[in-house]
């Protein structure tokens, strides 16, 4: 099957799950602090746990080579922090605004356009020069059990290849830690009309594994998809010469379609507009911060948190820490400050 069609199908499934699970990483991170609500966080942690074992197994079986995102410390620190602040302003993370486009949110559409354009400008566009500020990736030549993808012998850092030990050991320890947190942390009560955290977590996790086996080079992502959609649509319509639509671009398109179908089927689709025009400026700024952050950091909440943490990639761990910090700072500034 054409990889683009596979990307579209995976995207549609992911879009349905995001919409029915109401899974937004901005909400998941923010609610733990703002409303002491862990419902979405538990869904995300469970998905990460399922993927941690699933990615490892798929690599062991030789279906994929693990391909952690490049470790550029400053990029993940600054990019992660800006991304974290941006998603609060935008009212959703990269995947959150993408699936909400399918639900008819005009503000999500505005945020997504500014996110995609900024990320495209940073990755190979007029803002490409900013990447020089952050330096080159730090890599290793260690490849325990040979499961990692290498370029000229260089492999991006994970905890396992940094320590040069069998990645199964790290994966199992991490999965057990996540399992303990999931079991011990009391779930916030919620009368959900969508997917429960348990089903949402398991199904999103499985979708992530399927995505990896389908795309081969990586699991689910958002930023690269928006960049592909914008760049190909606006500049390279001649497919024989330019950048053609790819797996991840079609996956992002699929998310919007999947969310649209799910919202329509459950009578949750509606064109929604904020009353205050200032909101448009706020979400646009949020989109720009997210696009810049994800652009320089090599990934957004999906690339780094959902798909990167299961690799135990050093880059993704650092991005996650600073995205949470940026999110919580902005939550405090907007909603908690006296």
């Amino acid at each position: 099957m054409d990889p683009r069609l596979q990307g579209l199908l995976v995207g549609i499934i992911f879009g349905v799950l995001l919409q029915r699970g109401r899974l937004c990483f901005n909400s998941a991170i923010r609610d733990v602090k703002l409303t002491k609500d862990n419902y979405l966080m538990k869904m995300a942690l469970l998905a990460i746990m399922v993927e941690t074992i699933g990615f490892q197994l798929a690599a062991q079986l030789g279906w994929i080579k693990l391909n952690p995102l490049p470790f550029v410390p400053l990029a993940q620190i600054i990019g992660g922090f800006l991304f974290g602040m941006g998603m609060v302003l935008a009212g959703g993370c990269a995947s959150g605004i993408t699936y909400r486009v399918g639900e008819g949110y005009i503000t999500a559409f505005v945020a997504a356009v500014f996110f995609g354009i900024t990320a495209a400008a940073v990755r190979g566009g007029p803002l490409q020069f900013v990447n020089k500020w952050f330096g080159k990736p730090i890599t290793t030549t260690n490849n325990p059990t040979g499961v990692y993808a290498a370029t000229d012998g260089k492999i991006n850092l994970t905890i396992a290849n940094l320590l040069n030990i069998n990645p199964w050991i790290i994966a199992i320890i991490f999965a057990i830690i996540l399992l303990v947190v999931i079991l011990v942390w009391k779930t916030t009560e919620r009368k959900t009309t969508g997917l429960t955290w348990l089903w949402g977590g398991i199904l999103v996790g499985i979708t992530g594994i399927v995505a990896y086996i389908s795309q081969k080079s990586y699991a689910l992502g958002i930023t690269g998809g928006w960049v592909n959609l914008f760049r190909t649509t606006t500049g390279n319509l001649d497919i024989s010469k330019g950048v053609p639509y790819n797996w991840i671009g079609m996956e992002v398109l699929g998310i919007i379609i999947g969310a649209f179908i799910a919202a329509l089927a459950t009578k949750e689709f509606k064109l929604r507009m904020p009353k205050n025009p200032q909101t448009f400026a706020q979400v646009a700024l949020g989109g720009i911060l997210m696009g810049f952050g994800a652009g320089v950091a090599y990934g957004c909440n999906i690339g780094h948190i959902l798909s990167g943490l299961p690799h135990l990639a050093i880059s993704s761990i650092l991005f996650t820490i600073f995205a949470v910090a940026g999110n919580w700072l902005m939550v405090w500034y907007l909603f908690e400050r006296k």
Partner: protein, 79 residues
């Protein structure tokens, strides 16, 4: 249930997440015991989150009523 007359109304339709939740909590904190707040929302997630959130700050959801396609009216009483 007999029709309850709200003391205040918040129209949160179209607002970006988490503004409906935050505004509802803020308003509820200012209200006196026994007063009723009506919140209009158009996002399913808010319909699930607002009831969970108001409990924490001394509110009780009296009813959640569907008033249109993806539109709901939540009545909350300050305890």
């Amino acid at each position: 249930m007999a029709e309850v007359k709200p003391n205040y109304t918040l129209d949160e339709r179209g607002e970006v997440c988490p503004i409906p939740d935050v505004d509802t909590r803020k308003k509820l904190k200012e209200m006196k015991s026994g007063e009723i707040l009506e919140v209009l929302i158009d996002y399913a997630l808010s319909k699930e989150r607002i009831p969970a959130g108001v409990k924490e700050i001394g509110g009780e959801v009296l009813s959640i009523e569907e008033i249109g396609p993806s539109e709901w009216r939540i009545l909350i009483k300050k305890l």
